[in-house]
Amino acid sequence: MSRLSDVFARCKSNQRAALVSYLTAGDPDLTSSELLLNTLADQSDILEIGMPFSDPMADGPVIQAASERALASGTHIQDVFRLTAQVRQQHPDLGIVLMGYANIPFVIGFENFAKQAVEAGADAVLLVDIPPEEGHICDGIFQKHGLDRILLLSPTSTEERIQLVCKHASGFIYYVSLNGITGANMGDMEAIQQQVNHIRVHTDLPVCVGFGVKTAKQAQEVGHFADGVVVGSHFVNTIPQNISNAEAINDALKDAASSMKEALEA
């Protein structure tokens, strides 16, 4: 069994959804980022570590700004791997997903990328702009290295696409709860539940729901029907709100994460 399936099995036996948290590596700077990623990892079942990119087309203003801060503070892909390894060292059971855009692994080479990701301790990769149709450019490479490939589904995904995505995904399915970018407002809960149930007809993989989860109440509601709840912009937002005070960010992040965690455990 992969580490991700262990995580979901453990959450299931505790009768709760997994907390899947996101932060951009290197935000707001490399030193603070190590602290913040570890703080968030303490409270989370799965951590998505964002690889900063110059052109984050699928992200809203909050995560765009996170990418800009990380790049401005000199975050390189090697730093992303190093931070990942540091989180892994302290969190042996945590699921770790490297998340970002296709161009970074494409340019440094998928093989090279996968090798370093595994060495750093990542379990999976989520590349927003590689739909199953374009999976040929990294075909089999992630699999060969034992990395799960997380794929997205959205409200616009047709029956045919749901089948296609389920066929190519591993680890879990990431259901984007709305037509939009990260950080937008959550869609209609009932419709989301229906879609999640529908996806389950096609796959035994866990289904996580993300994009737009901002409150503990939303997390709790989603947690009733999804296997995992993804929280991103809400956590990232603690950084600009407390900028230039790493300790204050850390406290705010710890609070934000533990209230999400409690909501899922309740």
């Binding site: 110059s54 161009n103 590689i130 995904s157 984007v176 937008a184």
Partner: protein, 415 residues
């Protein structure tokens, strides 16, 4: 005045089903898009192929191109310029005389008709020089559609007259401050807005780049340029050109001119913006200096660093100030069919002045890059040869930039 022209509506050199252009085993194009956009893209693709086969659609499109846009645009033998250079004969394809002052309208007419056919009430677009924004705002006015244009704040400054034109036409112009506040960031922002509104909104993409089917579709709407030019050259000069030259931002005017000429024995040249020089970092020459990369839904050449971060670009012309390039041009270069060349800011500015003074035609700064390279190439050829240059747009929008630049240069000259 326009004359009836018979266009070839067969789709030649189509990409594969996924929108990939192959060259020597290397693959370009595709749809590297987020899941949410995959179905909307598929719907556009289906609608496009249906429309393209639909006689009524084509009739309406061609009728608008003729009576509204003023096609066919003239092919003009720039005799004085040619004589002055003493080399090959330069023929200018006068896209500057297309309605709204650039080739861009060929594409927006096609896509707006498609949007209407798909029942979309609202259109959005990115723009760099503002020519695509104006062309989109124009068709939105014509078809009574709501229109939002995304434009980098830096470009709004450089191309203020076009911002005003868009507003007069009833469009909202939304400034983009993220990243470098230029064309690539405007594309990012328009893509984000489209993801959130794909149900009622059509994204009129402005160049032959982006995810499939845009590179194919935009090309098909612009091949009128090359088809007309080919026939006009045969009629006027009794033979085909030896060389065909176009400037490249994302590649729409270039693919429009060059695609219909690629099966002929004609040297095809794409001219990129060399900015302050290809040896500096301040240019926008993705084909000359870029590497393979994925941006805005497409795999192509890209100006990026060793870790895949897209690099800032520079060009005096906002319409060429883009780090990527359309995938089909990349494939044509890879296969050896397309030669790439470049012109610096200074060379473009000099060509701008030369064409204005020698022929009485004020070209867009984008087009001035093609003129500069075209003049250079023609000068090394014989008077019985022909260089065809795409004059993609007129320069009214650039007068402010040119005025400032000339004043700056004069001041430096004084010191």
């Amino acid at each position: 005045m326009s004359t009836d022209f018979t266009y070839d509506l067969t789709i030649h050199h189509a990409p594969d089903e996924g929108g990939h252009f192959l060259a020597n085993g290397t693959l370009f194009g595709g749809s590297f898009a987020a899941e949410t956009l995959m179905q909307p893209l598929k719907e556009i693709e289906t609608a496009f192929f249906e429309a393209w086969q639909d006689e009524a659609f084509q009739q309406e499109r061609l009728s608008l191109l003729k009576h509204y846009a003023g096609r066919a645009t003239p092919l003009y033998h720039a005799k004085r310029l040619s004589d002055e250079l003493g080399g090959a004969q330069i023929y200018l394809k006068r896209e500057d005389l297309n309605h709204t002052g650039a080739h861009k309208l060929n594409n927006t007419i096609g896509q707006a008709l498609l949007a209407r056919r798909m029942g979309k009430k609202k259109v959005i677009a990115e723009t760099g020089a503002g020519q695509h924004g104006v062309a989109t705002a124009t068709v939105a006015a014509l078809f009574g559609m709501q229109c939002d244009i995304y434009m980098g704040r830096e470009d709004m400054r450089r191309q203020a007259p076009n911002v005003f034109r868009m507003k007069l036409l009833g469009a909202n112009v939304i400034p983009v401050d993220s990243g470098t506040a230029t064309l690539k960031d405007a594309v990012n922002e328009a893509l984000r807005v489209w993801v959130a509104n794909c149900e009622d909104t059509f994204y009129i993409f402005g160049t032959a780049a982006g995810p499939h089917p845009f590179p194919l579709m935009v090309r098909q709407f612009h091949t009128v340029i090359g088809q007309e030019a080919r026939a006009q050259c045969l009629a006027q000069a009794g033979k085909l050109p030896d060389v065909a030259v176009a400037c490249v931002g994302g590649g729409s005017n270039a693919i429009g001119l060059l695609h219909p000429l690629q099966d002929d024995d004609i040297r095809l040249v794409a001219v990129e913006a060399a900015g302050c020089g290809l040896e500096t970092k301040q240019h926008a020459a993705a084909l000359c200096k870029g590497k393979a990369g994925i941006i805005h839904g497409s795999l192509s050449y890209l100006l990026e660093n060793d870790e895949g971060q897209v690099q800032p670009t520079h060009s005096i012309s906002a319409g060429l100030d883009y780090p990527g390039v359309g995938p089909e041009l990349a494939a044509m270069m890879e296969s050896g069919r397309l030669d790439v060349d470049s012109a610096t800011d200074d060379e473009a500015l000099a060509a701008f002045q030369t064409l204005t003074q020698v022929e009485g035609i004020i070209p867009a700064l984008e087009s001035s890059h093609a003129i500069a390279a075209g003049m250079r190439i023609a000068a090394s050829m014989n008077p019985d040869q022909i260089v065809l240059v795409n004059l993609s747009g007129r320069g009214d929008k650039d007068l402010g930039t040119v005025m400032d630049k000339l004043a700056e240069d004069a001041k430096e000259g004084d010191q």
